[in-house]
Amino acid sequence: MELVCPAGNLPMLKAAVDNGADAVYIGFRDDTNARHFAGLNFNDKQIAEGVKYAHDRRVKVFVAINTYAQPKGWERWTAAVDRAAGFGVDAIILADMGVLDYAAERHPNVNLHLSVQGSATNPAAIGFMQRHFGIKRVVVPRVLSLSQVAHLIRETTVPVEIFGFGSLCVMVEGRCLLSSYASGQSPNTFGACSPASHVEWRDTPQGQETRLGGVLLERRSHGEAAGYPTICKGRYRIDGELRHAIEEPTSLNTLDILPDILAAGVSAIKIEGRQRSTHYVTQVTKVWREAIDSCKRNPQAFRPKERWNQILAQVSEGTQTTIGPYERTWH
């Protein structure tokens, strides 16, 4: 089982490589990838250096080009695919059928992975993508239970990658428009959920308010911990009650079920967080490397170490973590 770690810039890539990642995933500095934030991602010089650094240490590099291209700007996506292929990366992570079609035709020897944004949650969907684009891996959305993941792995010949740690997307990725409903920009169209330019933080006599596109997502008393505001983690009135109507501000941590993930035949486990810091990547990669190695040595005896959970808790967004949809009770 491969450990796939995020890198929003060159120092993060080096941190992931140095601390035990089997693969690092990165993106270009534009809206062709789903972590399109100012100051983040790679230009050509940085990619070249990153690929060399990783390959010298036998670590793979994947490039995510996983947003949906519209006719205006289409060439940005095809150029991104050409550039990624030109840098000799180990795989390109794609979501859009049109871009997949282009990549498969133009670069038949480059490995293509179906991004989590590709929204494939069953063997028929994966089979369709495999038949037409020859995908070599699928990243499945964070909506399946672990038994569903295990079943899926038995039903497809495409290796399956899952999210193991980081932010928890509770909607089927690639088919969530909540962000654009409030801000006009979504992960699909712009490459970011809740784009920072549309987020407001206000201190008011009623409390601290967070807004997206002018819509009030949360109003909390001063001093309450505040995560990054997304619509799905906001607090609203529903049926007369004030509550987190969609999901609490939790993040995903699957360390507790690592032996089951391994037993299910998961090919790769992905850490979320290209928008986070070098410190985050260092700490999380180190813990997960140690955990995966320990679990592989003796899955029966595997118990997450207290120290690992302490380290992960320090870098988690929000105050709670959850196993999320992998546990059926979450549903």
Partner: protein, 306 residues
């Protein structure tokens, strides 16, 4: 034909699938009423939750026969999110029936429908001309544009669409915004999805979600999240005609759907002014109207000049 010469073009009206859990009787009554309206295409089927089984595929096929007998086109719509084996088997069975056109809601349906005529629903991510061409080679006859895309992309895609492929726009209704594994209706009633007691049946237009300052914002419909605002493209009718859009979809709501269809139809024939039509529609939208997506703005905004 250039876009400007196309102003006489009259899009047809379609009725989207019922997105909510309504009692069986109500569903049959609803279609009996709607078949009397000037709607041209009727989409039928469960697209949200496989646990809702008041109507089986056989019931939808029976309704589809009635739709056909009424001189309209029947299309069978499929689930937007396919996870389990059971869902996949039902989907396969629906797709194997070749009497009616099928609307694909998930990539899985594309797998089963390849090589025969089909419709790509708005939950299939079709954002560009290359995807359009790719699917057209595999049998695509019509696509419903993802709802977050507006007139700019519609225009680009319509100019580059393959021969014989129709474009449908989601023109009226609460916007389908997201799908999850969690049933939010059950979650907010303190129930799990496996033990949901079909509580979504208590909310014929979804559960309203209001912000802490009273803005009616979202509507929860089982695993689906919708907008609270009702999307309305009536003010854009002239643009829609000029672009050559083929169909306008009206998404069923528990009240006034037939009135909505007639209002759109009257505006299409020129018997009613779109501004006056929109004024009527406002009264029938549970949380007001929105149209931001069409102009490239936030989806919840309203303010297209009529």
């Amino acid at each position: 034909m250039s876009a400007l010469n196309n102003s006489a073009h009259r899009p047809r009206l379609s009725l989207g699938p019922i997105l909510y859990l309504w009692p069986r009787e109500q569903v049959f009554d609803f279609y009996a009423e709607l078949l009397e309206t000037p709607v041209d295409v009727v989409y039928l089927g469960e697209t949200i939750c496989s646990k809702r089984r008041q109507l089986k595929p056989e019931d939808y096929w029976e309704l589809a026969e009635r739709v056909t007998a009424a001189g309209k086109q029947a299309v069978i719509s499929t689930l937007a999110l396919i996870e389990s084996d059971g869902e996949l088997k039902t989907l396969k069975r629906i797709c194997a029936d070749e009497r009616f056109m099928i609307e694909a809601g998930d990539l899985a349906a594309l797998d089963f429908l390849e090589g025969r005529p089909f419709v790509a629903g708005h939950s299939i991510n079709l954002y560009n001309h290359r995807t359009l061409a790719f699917l057209a080679e595999r049998g695509l006859k019509r696509w419903v544009m993802p709802v977050e895309l507006g007139r700019a992309t519609a225009s680009d895609l319509l100019q580059r669409r393959p021969e014989g492929v129709e474009c449908e726009l989601f023109a009226f209704g609460r916007l389908p915004l997201a799908y999850s594994a969690r049933c939010f209706t059950a979650y907010n009633r303190g129930l799990g999805k496996d033990n949901c007691e079909f509580c979504c049946g208590d909310y014929p237009d979804g559960v309203l979600v209001t912000t802490q300052e009273g803005q009616e914002f979202l509507s929860l419909n089982g695993i689906q999240t919708q907008s609270a605002g009702t999307h309305n493209l009536l003010p854009a009718l002239d643009e829609v005609r000029a672009l050559g859009v083929d169909l306008l979809r009206i998404s069923p709501q528990s009240k006034h759907t037939a009135d909505v269809v007639r209002t759109f139809a009257d505006c299409l024939t020129g018997d009613l002014d779109p501004a006056e039509g929109t004024a009527r529609l406002r009264d029938w939208a549970p949380s007001g109207l929105c149209d931001g997506y069409w102009t490239g703005d936030s989806g919840y905004k309203f303010g297209m000049p009529v």
